[in-house]
Amino acid sequence: MRILSSAPHIRTRRTTRSIMLDVLIALIPATVAGIVFFGWQAAVFIAISLAGAVLTEFVWYLIEHKIWRGGRQVLADWAKQFDCTSLVTGLLLALCLPANIEGWYMPLLGSIFAVGVVKMLFGGTGKNIVNPAIAGRIFLFISFVLMTVYPEANFGAIASGDLGSVTTGATQLHNLLEHAPTLSALDLFLGTGVAGCIGETCKLALLVGYLYLCVRGVIKWYLPLLYIGVTGLFAVALEGFDFTFFLPSILSGGLILGACFMATDYVTTPKSKLGNVLYFVALGLLTAGLRKATGIEVVSFCILLMNFLVFLIDLAIKPRPFGYVREKKEAKK
């Protein structure tokens, strides 16, 4: 029997799973940096979050397919359709949490919420309206006060074995918005001595991941740069064009993590190129503006907000096929 199907008869080797694996690979440097800076607590957080995300998806799979018993076959079937999106969600969620080990339940609750409510309840992969990891983080942020206490990234913590020395404090961003930049741009870039979430402090590691994503063609290189650039420039403008604010504002908080890995999430960005440019510029303006207005880190809130507007952007932009422009010009004449 021959396979009968409509053309084309050959397909690329790229799959959703391979794209998600690329995102995971791109997050490895940030993950390693987070564990080095924040110690075993960070590793525990990441493990809990990943397990929570994958288990939630697995349980959902069992319920959805009404599987109440079965052995290895169920696992094999599940593994076959597993597209690694929940791993990305789990890892991203952990990377945007502060590693306060007292709050070990946070990554668990967050990942269950992110995958169970935000993704699966809306129809699973590709159907969620907002980014699951962002929604999970905001769910935790508005639920637990521990989310606002950030440990300081301490490179020496592991080396000395003195894990108790990890102190808590406000983020550099908070200091910045109080008009007192306390850390050098190099410290901010490398993440040494910066207080923050697990994955967001070491900008070097994030940029390595960003480059990997660009080389592998997972994201368009200009979109994160657009977001970061617009945020920095608008922040400078808001401070009366004091350019000393440029580097601290783009290197502080979760901007680079958000711009490279969260705002670029396919499902929750517009479909057209023009729509994407609009979306990322709007994100930049919103982030700088809200940071100035509220004095807290707002990257995740901005992305959540813009996620809701994506469908409006998509409805507003209609394709202009090849050959269209010329016709319009002629009509004008």
């Binding site: 009968l4 409509s6 050959i10 590709g126 396919y266 499902v267 209609k318 202009r320």
Partner: protein, 428 residues
């Protein structure tokens, strides 16, 4: 002379798979015991048979005449006896009206007299008499295309052959370089144009080399699919955009395939109607991939036999892998527009179940017409065809198949677009 192409529009890079056959010169297919010649081989009305059952015909004799303004005559690919004029399975699950000819022992030709230094009118009527159609795939009758509604100033010969696997145009360009050039001159004479270009993808350097020594301009195109699609080709070669819904002639250009130019040359100089063509039989599922010179109507079974039979082929395709049609079996025959038959293995077809769209935008990035295939599929699945046209732009689709090829979720995007187009056409 070599002319640099314009920056090309989008499109994608696809592994060529041309190496099994691109160095093999075309072999003649052993004469099949019978040929099955479909009456509808080109765009437009099917030809009307002018022979009776039992009548014996010579090779090149007209067996069916054009009917209507857009139609092309059909000639016998072999000398023999007409055995039947009937509906036969077309190999795609449907049927088609065919003339079946049993091959005679002795082959005798009945060609038209050669033309010496012909005028434009003579060439045009010769092309019409010889039933020449566009051999690139669409099969538009050439004599109709050569009477454009507005005057044109450029003739482009399409030797891009951007479809993977196929090498029929490549081997033709390698061996029949002079004939193609002379054919192009005849075509240019009919159109009264001075500027002739030949567009060849860079993966055929020896062809570019050969044509660059002639007096026409050669455009070495970037190896990209679909570079050979008419509108994209015109843009790469001349920088002109064909306005939506208009003909290439409105951009002042006529595009002809290199195989068509060759057929025109044969028709003018030898009086030979379009009765045979080069067909690439290739793919991982055939024992010996080959380029075969086949009479029109040669059954696929004869071609497969000449290539040593199949192995582990799960999919048979008539035409290229991006735009060809899947076949149910060996019922298919060679027509004027058949560039190849592919025997694809499971690994090559890479068939998988579709997974949900993740909105990655690869289809829109790759679309050479700048459309939004994911929107089209979304609205087509919801049966909202007007929205599919509004947000997806389906009506401008050239059906190149790029969207489905790049989709990491394996969604049948091209198929959805075809459905939407058919529904919209049905409603209007």
């Amino acid at each position: 002379m070599i002319v640099k192409p314009r920056a090309s529009l989008r499109g994608i890079s696809i592994p060529g798979h041309k190496s099994p056959t691109d160095r093999l010169s075309a072999e003649r297919l052993p004469l099949p015991a019978k040929v099955v010649i479909p009456l509808a081989q080109s765009i437009g009305a099917p030809a009307q048979p002018v022979v009776q059952i039992g009548q014996s015909v010579l090779r090149g004799e007209r067996i069916a005449s054009a009917s209507g303004a857009v139609s092309a005559s059909i000639h016998a690919g072999v000398a023999g006896t007409v055995k039947a004029i009937e509906a036969r399975p077309d190999g795609r699950g449907g049927t088609m009206e065919c003339i079946v000819i049993e091959t005679a022992q002795t082959q005798e030709d009945a060609f038209l007299p050669p033309l010496q230094d012909p005028s434009a009118e003579e060439i045009l009527s010769r092309i019409e008499e010889c039933g020449i159609v566009g051999m690139g795939g669409a099969g538009f009758p050439t004599h109709v295309k050569l009477r454009p509604p507005v005057p044109v100033d450029t003739l482009i010969l399409n030797g891009a052959e951007c479809e993977p696997y196929l090498t029929c145009d490549d081997v033709l360009m390698q061996s029949k370089h002079d004939e193609i050039l002379r054919g192009a001159k005849y075509l240019a004479k009919v159109l009264n144009v001075q500027h002739i270009l030949i567009a060849i993808e860079k993966n055929k350097p020896q062809d570019i080399e050969a044509f660059s020594k002639s007096d026409i301009d050669v455009v070495p195109l970037k190896k990209k699919y679909p570079m050979g699609a008419e509108k994209q080709l015109i843009y790469s070669c001349t920088g002109r955009k064909v306005p939506l819904g208009k003909l290439p002639a409105h951009a002042g250009v006529i595009v002809q395939n290199v195989a068509t130019a060759f057929a025109v040359c044969e028709a003018v100089e030898k009086g030979k109607p379009l009765i045979e063509r080069i067909v690439t039989v290739t793919g991982g599922g055939i024992m010996q991939p080959k380029n075969l010179i086949c009479p029109i109507g040669a059954p696929l079974s004869a071609l497969a036999e000449a290539c040593g039979g199949e192995r582990e082929a799960v999919k048979l395709v008539s035409g290229g892998p991006m735009t060809g049609a899947a076949l149910t079996g060996y019922n298919a025959v060679v027509t004027k527009t058949t560039g190849g038959f592919l025997f694809l293995t499971r690994d090559e077809t890479n068939t998988q179940e579709p997974t949900p769209c993740i909105n990655c935008g690869r289809c829109a990035d790759a679309c050479p017409m700048k459309l939004m295939p994911m929107q089209t599929e979304f609205y087509t699945n919801a049966k909202e065809y007007e929205n599919a046209a509004r947000y997806g732009g389906v009506l401008a689709c050239i059906e190149c198949g790029v969207c489905s090829y790049v989709c990491p979720a394996r969604r049948p995007l091209a198929q959805a677009i075809k459905t939407a187009k058919a529904e919209l056409r049905r409603k209007s």
